[in-house]
Subunit: 225 residues, 2 copies
DNA sequence: TCACAACTCACACCATTATGCGATGGATCG
DNA sequence: CGATCCATCGCATAATGGTGTGAGTTGTGA
């Protein structure tokens, strides 16, 4: 049996490309496609009043929708049809949004940049196995859990594996957080600009990032500075 | 350059099959293989004492090991070599173990039942972007977050006080927080790179900042994103 | 005392960013 | 209807940032 998918997405271009994808992808079927949550919820109401249920197994839900938001729609749908898989598909990957979607009952959270082939395989996975998360989302979640999880083991695992930045590296990172340029950092810490580069290189390597913005984000979120 | 992988796994059969996999998989190289954490840590010590560092970029770490546990080994390794990616590879998927591993500094958590092809693609992903989590692990994490996060969501989504950034500007700012380059932002939000510039210009002006790092710091601290 | 980590600096190259200026089409609102 | 704001895009250029490579100077601890 093909996996029946419904789409809720307001952008006509993206929606239409999704439609095309599911119409032709082997193993999948396009059950419905809506431009707003309102229309989707109405359709569900119509069906249930006739004693029917949608044929969809999975709903792809955009978040930023006109009128009823994707989050709200997720919450409502999950109450009406708990067995329905709802996969949020959006461009956002900030923790607040992710957590909000999860709390609303989303079974998965994929980013729109996810390539079509991977999208399909992730969706296939959801019905058998678990929750699909793209890598970027997963990382955000990890950071979140790391931040607020002392509850599990209070102190038996002493150091939380600090990404041990050296003293100088922390100082440099702090300057970056304050928005200083390389030159300003050099002046402020009284070192050569090339030394600043060296430290920043080390920071990036340890934090696994590739630019100042990302380093700053990690630094603040994980309270490194 | 091939992705150099080290294995720490006590079960000889499984270890040998991993060895075979990485010896032959294109784009990968087998850097080392150990039957216990002890031997791996000793090897690292030996190398560092000789002024060398392991050629491995990624360590596949089993959890239930004789002697030093995988969790403990992860913690130790992360202190010695913070830039090393450590991916836990185990049969367990109970929340406590997962959280423990994450808190110990693991960059990813994969299950042994993960098919070889997917394992490879997940590992490839780790060096570019994010944290690899198999679906089952992801599901556990989701449950965890759902359980203990009413505080998080309200805290993060309450009192937005978004200055006066327009919708589009907020989206762009979020992308910056993720560490995306202008080009990546353009791709993700489907706009021209010059439009990205325009939005960023507006953001800087409104936030009174002059570079991405500072904007990101403000954004996170003032919970604009 | 010897090795090593931390810190320092240099140079070069290419990529990316910051910023100024200009312009168009829609949407909204009084 | 005209004013205003938002979103979109283009171009040019100077400045800054990211990364490879190499190497010298300290302390400190084994």
């Amino acid at each position: 049996m093909d996996l029946n998918v419904a789409i809720i997405e307001d952008d006509p271009r993206y929606r239409s490309s999704l439609e095309t994808l599911f119409k032709h992808a082997p193993g999948f079927a396009l059950g419905a496609s809506f431009g707003s949550a309102r229309r989707a919820l109405d359709e569900v109401d119509r069906l249930t009043e006739s004693g029917l249920r949608p044929a969809w197994k999975i709903v792809l839900m955009d978040l930023q929708l006109p009128g009823i938001s994707g989050i709200e729609a997720t919450r409502i749908l999950k109450v009406q049809l708990p067995e329905l898989f709802i996969v949020v598909l959006t461009v956002f990957e900030n923790p607040a949004t992710i957590v909000e979607a999860i709390m609303a009952g989303a079974d998965g959270y994929l980013l729109k940049k996810t390539p079509a082939a991977e999208l399909l395989s992730q969706l296939r996975m959801i019905i058998s196995d678990g929750a699909p998360l793209t890598a970027a989302v997963a990382r955000t979640l990890l950071a979140l859990v790391r931040q607020r999880s002392p509850s599990t083991s209070t102190e038996l695992s002493g150091a939380p594996a600090r990404l041990d930045l050296t003293g100088r590296e922390q100082e440099v990172l702090q300057c970056l957080v304050q928005g200083h340029s390389y030159k300003q950092v050099a002046d402020h810490l009284e070192m050569s600009i090339d030394t600043v580069r060296t430290h920043i290189r080390a920071i990036y390597k340890k934090l696994h990032v590739h630019n100042a913005a990302e380093a700053v984000a990690r630094a603040i979120r994980e309270k490194l500075v």
